[in-house]
Amino acid sequence: MLAAHQITTFLPRFTAATVEAPKPRRIAASVSGLSKQFRNTPVLKDINFDIAEGETLVLLGASGSGKTTILRIIAGLEHPDTGRVILHGRDVTDLPARERGVGVIFQSYALFPNMTVEQNIGYGLKIRRRNRKEIRETVDRLLELVRLTEHRRKYPSQLSGGQQQRVAIARTLAYQPEVVLFDEPFGALDAQTRTRLRSEIRALLR
């Protein structure tokens, strides 16, 4: 179980390592008094933290400690037993996932297997009924950004783990979410790819 004191123990280390602008900034995401239990087993207890705009926060904890549950609650995929989730000053605790403007990169990438790389990336714009030209331009730009232009017509099963993750990132960036959540993004990758992608993701998110 991840308790409040564990989070605060870890936070200063990560904020110190990842904060890029020193000036005081607006709060992008705030979590207060978050608790959750599954079948009478407490998983989260009174979790509180704020993340400023442009800031990167890393949650560390043992397997099963509740890291994913926190992300799922912020994304709207789980409802907390107690506590609130505030995104850019708006209380989204009771909003469904699709209305939160949050992007999630899942541990398994969750790419749609029946769609090509470009269809995956353009999905967020397609369901927002953007015109074809705009979708095409955004997809082209993102494919270039994640260096997958030559793989645009391939299906996810034809890509390596690192390529799949870059598609997942591009798919999330396409609809410009206000907050991006990564759930163990390097879990399934080898050490070399992991190191390369870590710096790539930092560069992309800038």
């Binding site: 994304a75 709207g76 995929l77 469904p96 996932a97 699709r98 209305e99 939160r100 403007g101 949050v102 992007g103 999630v104 899942f106 398994s108 969750a110 749609f112 297997p113 029946n114 999905y123 967020g124 369901i127 927002r128 099963s157 798919r171 999330t172 609809y175």
Partner: protein
Amino acid sequence: MSAAVSTIRHVQGFDVVRPLSIGTLIVLMLPLVFLPLASIFIFGTGKGLPRFWSALTAPEAIFALKLSIATSFWATVFNVLFGLFAAYVLSRYSFWGRNALIVTISLPTAIPTAVAGFALLLLWGPYGTLGRLLAPRGIQIMFTGGAIILANIFVTFPLAFGVMKAVFDTMNHSLEEASATIGATRWQTFWHVTLPSLRGAIVTGALLTFARAVGEFGSTILVSGNLAGRTQTAPLYIFAKFNEGQIEAANAIAIVLALLSFLIFSVLFFVRDRMEAK
């Protein structure tokens, strides 16, 4: 040492079990499946193709085939749509009585088809629980094409549902969650993400349902009234002609039904292979 011996025997190769197993399989299947099927074709065309053709194109035979295909088609449409809905609800939501509903939907596979037909008669027949209320309004469901569709729906109910529920149960939920976080409505997620994953199951379920419905006999004979040229399906036609001693007429339709089944299961194999290859 023993491992080395077994490797040598394997490499050198005459494995007596292999031909013995294949031979036993074929010998067992010969009287059980191959010969009965072959005899339909041998007897059906034994007196020449013109006789076979005239038996096949008799108006009552054509009607029976058309009725079978039409009623099976509508039962398939209903059961695929309903099966999709039922599989979605029973796979996605946990609620009190869920297991009882799953057992009930799956029950028709275990019920004798004659019992199914009898049950439908007791409900919709002129003196049945609901039929009695409809009869004064001039609505009669039993002994019509509608009754055959109802019987087909009842008997084939679990087929499409079973295939689709298995896919729903093993589906990767993070795909639907990803779609939701991207901003898709529930309907958009279903249409763009869930449904494409079910394509193979829908085709398989539809073909299984249709194949089973086309050959349905036990329930149909009770609810249709078996009226030649009105409510007589192809299997009932075979039975009726056999009873009248018109073996050639029965045989002609039997060949068509056998070929139809062969075609359906060939498509089924092809679809399954393609889906697995993906």
